[in-house]
């Protein structure tokens, strides 16, 4: 049973390990790195949306906080990467905790708007604090990640770092989902009142998940900043929060693989359509609208339903 449960991840890990060996073009390697980074960010948001049933329209803010925190510390103050990373995680978690305490007492719409406001405030501050963050023109010259003397200075090395982080977080997340708190989360999703009646501390649980998902976003931001060596407020605006949300909705809320699928599709899509940039907004909006209306469980949910249907048909034929 244990093997069966972990089989998809094992296969995925093997595929991810072999894939870059066959790729000669650094362009594709770069895209795979981005898919990994977005998958990490969506994983946290998916935990919040798909399992806890809460929405955040401000995750771009945590992504930016992570990227700026390690970026500033390593580029401007010559701090080593690991202490900078720890500082970034602590800062993001602390901010998310305060916001979470404030917002998560609120439900549905209020939470969405409160997180949206937080995202906008961070965006405005990053733009306005020119002396500190570099303002709209961004922060350049972020060094590559160095851990214990080993420097992840090529796309090839960075690829393995990103996907290793992804797999570690995936295992962590899958364990959370299958643990007592995971069950509490799903209970929360179906009915808060029932969850509270079962003795679950609803607010505490929501804040914990919110902080965890913010840290995931920050980690993704850290990886992004060090991979492109540059970060500007533009890469963490409201539209980025919406993109993360779209990835999850397209792939499937409440399905960890759904986030990866969504991240992969929505990263590849702009690369395949050359005139994509002008149509970006309308395409994202339409995809989001159509999927939510007609396939609320996303593509993974659709695949699952289709698979179950086929199995049932095959079984029925076998009996008849």
């Amino acid at each position: 049973m244990a093997i069966k449960r972990h089989l998809p991840l094992m296969l995925f890990g093997c595929a991810a390990a072999v894939l870059p060996l066959g790729l000669k073009d650094p362009y594709y390697l770069g895209i795979l790195v981005f898919i990994g980074i977005f998958s990490i960010a969506t994983m946290g948001l998916n935990l919040l949306m798909g399992y806890a049933g809460q929405i955040s329209l401000g995750h771009a803010a945590f992504y930016a906080l992570g990227a700026y925190a390690t970026g500033l510390l390593t580029a401007k103050y010559n701090v080593h990467f690991l202490p900078a990373l720890i500082a970034a995680i602590i800062v993001t978690a602390a901010i998310a905790y305060v916001i979470g305490i404030a917002c998560l007492r609120l439900k549905g719409h209020y939470l969405a708007v409160a997180t949206l406001a937080v995202g906008e405030i961070v965006f405005i501050c990053l733009n306005a604090a020119v002396g500190f963050t570099g303002g709209p023109s961004g922060l350049a010259g972020i060094p590559s990640i160095e851990i214990g003397g080993f420097s992840f200075d090529s796309d090839f090395k960075f690829y393995y770092l990103v996907w290793a982080v992804f797999i570690l977080l995936f295992i962590l997340t899958a364990n959370i989902i299958n643990s007592r708190s995971g069950r509490a989360l799903r209970c929360l999703h179906s009915s808060e009142i029932a969850a509270a009646a079962m003795g679950i501390n609803v607010t505490k649980l929501k804040v914990q998940v919110f902080v965890l998902s913010a840290v995931y976003a920050a980690l993704a931001g850290v990886l992004y900043g060090h991979s492109v060596t540059f970060i500007s407020p533009q890469s963490s605006d409201l539209m980025f929060s919406v993109k993360l949300l779209t990835m999850i909705v397209v792939g499937g809320m409440g399905n960890l693989w759904g986030g990866v699928l969504g991240a992969a599709l929505l990263t590849l899509l702009p690369e395949m359509l050359s005139a994509f940039h002008d149509y970006e907004l309308i395409i994202y909006g339409s995809i989001l609208l159509v999927i939510v209306m007609f396939l609320p469980d996303g593509l993974m949910g659709g695949f699952e339903a289709l698979g179950n249907k086929i199995i049932r048909k095959v079984r029925a034929r076998g009996r008849g």
């Binding site: 007492r105 609120l106 949206l116 405005i124 306005a128 907004l281 909006g285 339409s286 209306m293």
Partner: protein, 297 residues
């Protein structure tokens, strides 16, 4: 400039911009009361109003009053169509789904506006001249008076509609209890459609009046919508009078913040106020605690 005239100046600016927030806040309130939905596309109606008006008057050379009425009508139809396409077909949707749908709608509107009109910023001629009026050393543009006038007109029309017409009363009944309303023969689905049409129209009027002062571009909607939402929440979600007062208040706070603290952070000030309100008193300044409990999701 003396301190007094400075204060008066900020007050004028604040009330002008606050009138816009008040109108956007009213739009949120109307849809929220009829459906319980927070329409994230509300700000886009403001943007669309301004953009359609620019297109009608600058490209098609329609006279101002005709352009005004036509733009409001066009955006009203867009709002109604949005409800029919995206909200009407849903059966018992969850809040999460509704949020994502209106958010998706807002992005589609924004994207469509970008395709149609590009990324340029557009201006409109002021309705009645640009010569500022001087009061106590402070100046006010005639256009600002137009904005305040339109807010007053909208509030008066809404007050009449909700208190003295059958349809308006039906709408209020829906906001109190949709099931009971449908039991006494009110077509709730049609009220929902009407609420989207009305708030799109009000948003458009605000956008048209606002464009001559601040110019308009495709991505203005989100922030305007957010500020309008601040007004709606601060006023006690679902409370129209509260939304108007709170809208004006936010405008004034923002204007003083920009004047005395920092203009770069002025947008953050209004949002900070929103967060504090949500934290300290989620029911807003006008809504009672009991009322907010009933309307929870």
């Amino acid at each position: 400039m003396s301190l007094l005239s400075q204060v008066i100046q900020f007050l004028f600016t604040g009330i002008t911009i606050g009138s816009i927030y008040a109108m956007v806040g009213l739009g949120f309130t109307i849809i929220y009361n009829a459906t319980g939905i927070i329409n994230f596309a509300q700000g886009e109606f403001v943007m669309l109003g301004g953009m359609v008006m620019v297109w009608l008057t600058a490209v098609l050379h329609l006279p101002l009053p005709v352009g005004f009425v036509l733009s409001v009508l066009i955006v009203t139809v867009i709002g109604a169509a949005f409800e029919r396409v995206a909200i009407y077909p849903l059966k018992k949707p969850k809040v999460l789904i509704l949020i994502i749908i209106t958010l998706a709608g807002s992005i589609v509107f924004k994207g469509a506006a970008m395709l149609l009109w590009g990324k340029q910023t557009y201006g409109l001629p002021h309705f009645s001249g640009e010569a500022p009026i001087v009061i106590l050393g402070a100046t006010i543009l005639p256009q600002a008076l137009w904005i305040i006038g339109i807010l007053i007109a909208v509030v008066a029309l809404l007050a009449f509609f909700f208190n003295f017409t059958m349809l308006g009363k039906a709408m209020r009944a829906c906001s109190i209890n949709p099931v009971a309303a449908s039991l006494v023969g009110i077509n709730v689905k049609r009220i929902v459609l009407l609420s989207f049409a009305m708030s799109a129209g009000i948003g458009a009027a605000a956008g048209i009046a606002f464009t001559p002062i601040v110019l308009m571009e495709f991505d203005r909607g989100a922030l305007l919508g957010l500020k309008g939402f601040c007004a709606a929440v601060l006023g006690g979600l679902g409370n129209g009078t509260g939304a108007v007062i709170a809208g004006l208040l936010i405008g004034v706070i923002e204007s003083f913040g920009a004047g005395f603290i920092s203009s770069e952070y002025k947008d953050a000030i209004a949002l900070g106020v929103l967060l504090i309100v949500l934290l300290v008193r989620p029911s807003g300044i006008m809504g009672g605690r009991e009322a907010s409990k009933l309307k929870e999701f």
